[in-house]
């Protein structure tokens, strides 16, 4: 089970700004280990974010996104106390969902 995401959701004026730090190897499949074997690709392929159940972002990623991915975006129509939920799914079908309250 992957480590939890760190999510900070704060009001910046009338918009909610969301900053996420995910925990994931984002292995490209290009790297070789010490023994010379190719380390297989293992990376987040899709990300989605919802606000009170309504989608506010979705993304498709490739392995060129850095290890332990960082993501920041902002949207209108939110207020403190609302919930933001982020889900990622990787190329092995592993998935993780975390949420945060907007401060």
């Amino acid at each position: 089970m992957a480590d939890p995401m760190k999510i900070r959701a704060t009001m910046q004026g009338d918009k909610a700004q969301v900053r996420v730090l995910m925990s994931h190897e984002m292995e490209t499949g290009q790297r070789k280990d010490a023994a010379g074997n190719v380390v297989p690709a293992h990376f987040i392929q899709s990300v989605s974010a919802t606000h009170n159940g309504k989608k506010v972002l979705d993304a498709e990623w490739g392995p060129a996104v850095s290890k332990n991915p960082y993501l920041q975006f902002q949207f209108a129509g939110a207020k403190p106390g609302d919930k933001v939920q982020i889900t990622w799914t990787d190329n092995k079908g592993e998935t993780r969902t975390d949420d945060a309250i907007i401060r």
């Binding site: 490209t28 290009q30 993304a59 498709e60 060129a64 920041q72 975006f73 209108a76």
Partner: protein, 159 residues
């Protein structure tokens, strides 16, 4: 309801899985959202033209209506390069980031529903100094591209 089930059963018996999914999507029996898989064609593409084609577009018009924010011109560590893109083009629906010289050139595509700013910050791997392109799609199906060069002092893709 019975007619629908009979069609589905006949299709599933006579066709391969991929063909069935396609037919079911066209027949309106299966939501395209469920059928959407990771866009392998786009993530294998190496040029702006090929990425836009893989997205279903034809050409991308060059634009300067994009802010690169805190994106550096010289990255010290190619494994972790901050990229911050904001589109100033009206009705922007998505922004894709393409790192031309990478073995994995298309890094990400972000889709913005109404109410979300067409702007994103993330961090990407850049293997060697490269043109980096922001490919923007607007609600009317048009594509635009803005580019800048990012130099890398320590390459970011592997071993």
């Amino acid at each position: 309801m019975r007619a629908v089930s009979a069609t589905r059963r006949r299709l599933l018996k006579t066709s391969g899985a991929a063909a069935v999914v396609g037919v079911l999507v066209k027949a309106g029996l299966l939501s395209p959202r469920i059928a959407e898989a990771w866009n392998k064609e786009a993530f294998s593409a190496r040029s702006v033209e090929d990425v836009v084609k893989a997205f279903g577009g034809s050409t991308a018009t060059r634009t300067t209506e994009v802010s690169w924010g805190s994106t550096p011109e010289i990255a010290e560590n190619g494994a972790v390069v901050p990229v911050n893109v904001t589109s100033r083009i009206a009705s922007t629906e998505s922004i894709a980031i393409l790192i031309e010289k990478n073995p994995n050139a298309l890094a990400a595509r972000f889709n913005f529903p109404d109410g979300t700013d067409p702007a994103v910050s993330t961090r990407v791997k850049i293997a060697e100094s490269s043109p980096v392109h922001a490919i923007i799609k607007t609600a009317d199906g048009k594509y635009f591209v803005a580019s800048r060069e990012i130099k890398v002092t320590l390459g970011g893709c592997g071993g």
